[in-house]
Symmetry: C2
Subunit: 514 residues, 2 copies
């Protein structure tokens, strides 16, 4: 968020008058930089700054745009400005260093967002300006929220999506690999416990295909692949480390955010996450910008469909599929999609560590492994092997099964974990609570959204061990008092919170008596 640049045009005029001494406040405002200034300091008075104003803060030649909090009490000396942790990190320097504070230049690109709300599509040039300003830290959280909402739902067409994807690629880094093809797989998410990536990557890599997988952390779900992988090995790899892992093992499972492949996406996610938003157009832009930046030439996209999954109908899935393929084609990446069953969780665990346990059982060919997770992963791995020329059409799944059952996939997974920095044992939750059936019945429906919410209330994904384990899949029969799922939490407060919610939602697992 800090930039090497020249002082703004108006800065020279009145240089000294704009100087304050910086001080670390030790206040964590997450990623939004905040500056604390006294209402009676000479800058607030001369510039007419008031609380919540956006201001430009310069130290030497680094600058950020920060939100102003006005301080009245003796928290600061008159010639001091306090900085939140995010502002402090971005500016560098030490207590007492001189900083200068100005009005920021108006955000011209926000006019495109405003126009979008009135139905005018955003052009390539507009998308570039918006992404440039977002990555430059010029958008406040509410401006980003408005941008996200303006484009959310079904409000971006194919051209806009293409423009945004290209714009997101333009503002980030891009990896290049010596050999081709470079393959990838991605799930659009929305289905808890669908942790196939950690099985597909070792199978595909064991067959010699290059698969430099960068995954997200959760946006609206209780765990992303990066969150789950993190319970098994480090995922915060830089580009040089990813290159080393992939050159040695053909594959990796790293957190995309650490390598800044799509920095705009990482910033947007910070606001999308608390809003629980993750729309079609933005999903396509987010996925493709990361795949293309990672240097992939072909990717398989898994689209789970279910009434309570992210994609609710086959029609919606086909629309999303068409958009992914079209946008991918126009940006030079070969995509295939597969529409899968999203009516219930794929594995049993929901939450980073609990999903990791499911993955380990499959890779280790354990007898208690979740069949549904194994079969889905084999199907996806098979398709990727076919796309990458490592299996004939229709023979990929068979090849994948051999690689898994032979133990080659498990060996490869361990090797990848070692290459990423060493394998770990997933943590276990200190607090659990079992939700039981209040009457006898057959499981007729499972509400993925509310299950995910319970896992999130329990602390997932930030609390790695938190989440839940489902004991009653669709069509199974539960007797009265029989466990339906177990909530796992790292703190009693989170357990109580998830439990209170779960107990008020009896139909989250719908039991019909006949």
């Amino acid at each position: 968020m800090a930039h090497q640049a020249h002082y703004p045009e108006h800065a020279g005029r009145n240089g000294k008058a704009h100087t304050l001494r910086m001080r670390r406040m030790g206040i964590d405002t997450y990623l939004e930089p905040v500056i604390y200034m006294r209402a009676d300091c000479h800058i607030c008075r001369s510039e007419g700054f008031e609380a919540l104003a956006r201001v430009e803060v310069w130290r030497d030649h680094k600058h950020i745009v920060a939100t102003l909090n006005v301080v009245k009490a003796p928290l600061l000396e008159e010639d001091e400005a306090g900085l939140s942790e995010a502002a402090w990190r971005a500016l560098g320097g030490a207590n007492g260093d001189r900083i200068k504070v100005f009005h920021p230049a108006p955000i011209q690109s926000f006019s495109h967002v405003r126009a979008k709300m009135f139905g005018h599509p955003i052009t390539m040039a507009g998308a570039n300006e918006i992404m440039h300003d977002i990555v430059g830290g010029h958008y406040s959280d509410i401006e980003m929220a408005a941008f996200i909402a303006a484009c959310a739902g079904n409000r971006m067409d194919v051209e806009e999506t293409t423009a945004f994807t290209q714009a997101m690629i333009n503002v980030g880094k891009r990896l290049h690999w010596g050999s081709q093809p470079v393959v990838d797989k991605h799930c659009v998410g929305g289905l808890p416990g669908n942790r196939t990536t950690l099985i597909v990557v070792p199978i595909v890599a064991a067959c010699g295909l290059t698969i430099p997988k960068t995954s997200s952390r959760a946006i609206t779900s209780p765990a992303g692949s990066a969150d789950t992988m993190e319970t098994l090995a480090p995922v915060d790899l830089d580009i040089a480390q990813i290159r080393r892992v992939v050159e040695r093992e053909h594959g990796c499972i790293a957190w995309g955010g650490a390598v800044n492949l799509s920095p705009a996406d990482d910033i947007l996610i910070r606001v999308e996450r608390p809003l629980g938003l993750d729309s079609d157009g933005q999903m396509v832009a987010s996925v493709l910008s990361k795949k293309i930046a990672a240097g992939s030439t072909a990717a398989l996209i898994d689209i789970p469909v279910g009434t309570t999954a992210k994609v609710r109908s086959r029609e919606a899935a086909q629309e999303l599929s068409a958009r992914l393929i079209t946008v991918g084609h126009s940006l030079g990446i070969h995509l295939e999609t597969v529409i899968t069953d999203g009516s219930q969780p794929v594995g049993r665990g929901i939450g980073p560590a609990l999903e990791a346990m499911d993955v380990l059982a499959v890779l280790q060919n354990a007898s208690e492994a979740a069949e549904s997770l194994r079969e889905r992963a084999l199907m996806l791995a098979g398709r990727v092997l076919e796309m990458g020329g490592k299996a004939e059409a229709g023979k990929g799944m068979e090849r994948a099964r051999t690689v898994l059952s032979s133990g080659m996939a498990w060996s490869k997974f361990q090797a990848i974990c070692e290459a990423q920095g060493g394998m770990r044992v997933p943590p276990k939750a200190a607090h659990t609570h079992v939700i039981v059936a209040r009457h006898r019945g057959k499981v007729a429906e499972i509400d993925n959204r509310r299950l995910a919410r319970i896992a999130k209330l329990a602390g997932a994904p930030k609390a790695h061990a938190a989440g839940l384990v489902l004991h009653a899949p669709l069509d199974s029969v539960a007797e009265i008092g029989q466990p339906l799922f177990t909530i796992h939490a790292e703190s009693p407060g989170e357990l109580a919170y998830a439990r209170t919610y779960a107990e008020a939602q009896e139909d989250v697992i719908l039991l019909l008596e006949r």
Copy 2:
């Protein structure tokens, strides 16, 4: 934002463990309440709270939802929680009082906002839930920004607008007047210097009609009527004071926000303002909720049209007009609209005090008074007199002119100012800069939006004396070096900022050479 209510269900369980001592931090975060807690305090640890979490804070039986900032340094004792000014005001109490901090209940109503982004209209029940939660302080700023953007532009239909208007009325107070009709006038805004309200109200009141006018402060403009009136008399009247003024003088010009007539609107404006958004549906809901809550039975709505006004075409004006009338009818208020010329500012001044000077000149029948402002105000006052039965159809304007030229309107205005707390002299800016013509030409176009922006950069509306005075109306001829407009600012920083922008926008007043 604080409520009398019971502790949340889960609060009882673990009461003592959730207690901290409150401390006023003296940090002004504007209206968003912020709580500062140490990362290592027992609540953050047991509840798993992290920076930016939304938390419920209780003192006795008052509670608020606040945004958490985590504090690392020795800013706080381990058992203390700091409160921003907004949180401090809402909770009441003194340093050292015990407060309790919990996870907030999930905001159920946000699912309606999410659904809206996918094209599902919001129902009456949904609108009620959203407004209830907004007024309850449960929406964070980014959630409000997303809600506003989801409904912005042309995305609300008549039924949704009606539902939102009714919902906004439901969560506020409502005035009742003994006699009928109770009239009102309103301008949808977007045209700088269109300060007719301060002329219409005294004319109408002088004729004996009841006109309890509550005005907004500026949203996207450099001055609202309340901002302008405030330079001439107090506008922060409570309901009892409004009643007293209107009973004595038949009319008032008060700030609506002070009487909480539409508290939801006041909260939304706080986020709409920095976003520069003010959409059709929300405009209708905002205007009508205030008129109806103020007890009006009939209202005239002025809709200025111009390519750079808020409403850009006659078609758009007719659409807005139809929506206002339809929604008004279904909510039991008689509306008429008048579509006016919005191609240039109506008066000469732009900014609270500068617009007040224009108003005074008209009321005092001064020879230098702006004719355009006077004629527009007389036309509007005439229509209101006709709607209120004080003039025959077509005779209202004549009657209004008599009341103005006789000095009755000026007397009434002074009486209203006295009744509101005493008349004031508008402030004058300490710093001015004249922008001159760089070549000879005839004024062919005036960009209202950019003019408004210059006035805002100069500090309007917060700095009352700030803004600009236009010297070159449409069709006038300017010689090289002749003043086009004068920027007024209260601080050198703001003057420099407005001037830098103005100088880069030569065509804001377009001079054509022939």
